[in-house]
């Protein structure tokens, strides 16, 4: 069964085509890696799948629902860890978790238990009552991830979740996520620049570059196709070696000015 179906999806910002007629499917329970250089259109695609942005053209079906037409129903099906900061600085780590749990209607006892478990995994439990504005970039990132894992949706979108985290933390977090995936059949849809992560956990990879899909397959298939011995080499073979500038939007500039940005 396909839990996500994307058909001829396009997004234009003025004359600029950020996502250019892409189509793919994700099966239920799959660990799906959506890879591409900076500015490829990954976040824009995720924003369309998660009701935050209207497509210019094309169709998305998520858990049998069209997120454009039936936003309220679609929102019950997914969880998301955003690429950009989205925690409330004026609240404590615990309060941010609690807020999320109530919004997603996680029953109180489950909520309490999971908040403790997750904050321990991301090593923020002893800082749980501190205001987020006192946290470092890495701590905020860990909180964002913990919060995203608090409710158990059908599909979990993770947009560069582990960016900037040390290998130990990344391992802990991924093993927790893989456990969720196998125990509860939660579909994982993630983006990352760490090709090693994708190589070791993804069951399917789609590579997108300049808005277009350039390759689809399992990591093994992509490596075979490009005669590469790692996914990273396959990725470079498929997308070239030129460096992409990531253009920040107006809001991003503002955040950078406020030292909120940590890439």
């Amino acid at each position: 069964m396909n839990i996500i179906e994307v058909k001829n999806l396009t997004k234009r910002f003025g004359d600029f085509v950020a996502v250019d007629n892409i189509s793919f499917t994700v099966e239920k329970g799959e660990v799906f890696a959506f890879l591409g250089p900076n500015g490829a259109g990954k976040t824009t695609s995720i924003r369309m799948m998660t009701t935050l942005l209207a497509p210019s053209e094309g169709e998305i079906i998520l858990n049998g629902i069209n997120p454009q037409k039936d936003q309220a129903e679609a929102r019950k099906s997914f969880g998301i860890v955003f690429q950009d900061p989205s925690v409330d600085e004026e609240l404590t780590a615990y309060e941010n978790m609690e807020f999320h749990g109530v919004l997603y209607k996680v029953p109180k006892d489950v909520r309490r238990k999971r908040i403790e478990e997750l904050l321990k995994i991301v090593e923020l439990w002893d800082r749980k009552n501190h205001l987020v504005k006192t946290f470092s970039g890495g701590m905020r990132r860990r909180l964002e991830i913990a919060r995203g894992l608090l409710h158990h949706p059908q599909v979990l979108f993770l947009d560069e979740p582990t960016l900037g985290l040390d290998p130990q933390t990344r391992n802990h977090i991924w093993s927790y996520i893989m456990n969720l995936n196998s125990l509860e059949q939660i579909t994982i849809f993630f983006t990352t620049h760490y090709m090693g992560e994708a190589e070791s956990i993804a069951t399917k990879v789609v590579i997108i570059d300049r808005g277009k899909i350039v390759a689809t397959g399992t990591p093994a298939e992509l490596m075979k196709k490009t005669s590469a011995d790692t996914l990273e080499k396959a990725f470079l073979a498929l997308t070239g070696t030129t460096i992409r500038e990531e253009e920040a939007g107006a809001i991003d500039h503002l955040r950078m000015g406020r030292k909120m940005h940590h890439r």
Binding site: L53, F82, P85, V87, H100, L103, L131, A250
Partner: protein, 250 residues
């Protein structure tokens, strides 16, 4: 409708308010200055013109002023939430826009009412005295309604503005006129026709009048008119605010 969702959104506003001590103290400076400078400055003229004690007249207007500003700012906070990224978190959650709008607005209105109550208490030290203890709880209720109305207005504004750049415009061409053309500082009798018509269309006029009626025992429009117009104002702005908020994008 989930009470828990509305409650947690309300609670967030309250926590943010009590945590920013600087904001509480800072936003008391202006009303206090107005009360002292205008109250004592214009007091003698007001008295000579046969209008009675100016502090007695002015205090409800200044309470309303601090409610107006605090409420609008609480509504406008949505813009900051968008810029700090937190708005996304609420917008992708499986809760209705109406619940989000209601929770936030009730929270903002509670904060603005508290601010009004603090100004009221301070005014007692400046020489204001209430005319009836029995009417006092009603004054607080009117404060809350005023707060609700203007928080909803702030929400409506924030839903339309993309960033703080348009805010100066809103401040000078909407919020300041609402305050100055409301009868907060001067009586509404015998005014030029234009100003009188504007004041009559201004919801703050009715809020202030209701506060004067319940705190000082004098009214221009009368409590019944005040209640009706405030109620209509709250209903209309909650509706408009919810509508505009439902169209908001992260």
């Amino acid at each position: 409708m989930s009470i828990n969702v509305i409650y947690i959104l309300w609670l967030r506003q309250i926590k943010r308010y009590f945590r920013s001590k600087a904001r509480i103290v800072g936003s008391l400076g202006q009303p206090l200055l107005f009360l002292l400078a205008l109250g004592f400055g214009f007091g003698p003229i007001f008295q000579k013109a046969g209008q009675g004690n100016y502090i007695q007249f002015l205090t409800p207007g200044i309470i309303a002023m601090s409610i107006l500003f605090t409420a609008i700012f609480s509504g406008i906070e949505i813009i900051w939430d968008r810029q700090f990224g937190f708005l996304k978190e609420t917008l992708v959650a499986p809760v209705s826009r109406l619940e989000i709008m209601l929770g936030r607005t009730l929270g903002g209105a509670t904060v603005a009412t508290l601010q009004g109550v603090i100004v009221f208490v301070l005014s007692l030290f400046v020489g204001f005295h209430i005319y009836s203890l029995i009417a006092l709880p009603f004054a607080f209720i009117f404060m809350f309604f005023m707060a609700l109305l203007f928080t909803a207005l702030g929400t409506a504004i924030a839903s339309v503005l993309k960033d703080m750049q348009g805010f100066q415009l809103i401040m000078n061409f909407l919020i300041m006129p609402i305050f100055f053309l409301s009868g907060a500082l001067f009586p509404l009798d015998g005014l030029p026709k234009v100003i009188e018509v504007i004041a009559r269309c201004n919801p703050l006029s009715y809020g202030i009048d209701a506060l004067r009626a319940t705190l000082s025992g004098v009214a221009h429009f009368g409590l019944l008119n005040d209640s009706i117009f405030l109620f209509i104002g709250v209903a209309v702005l909650l509706f408009v605010g919810s509508f505009l908020f439902s169209k908001i994008e992260a």
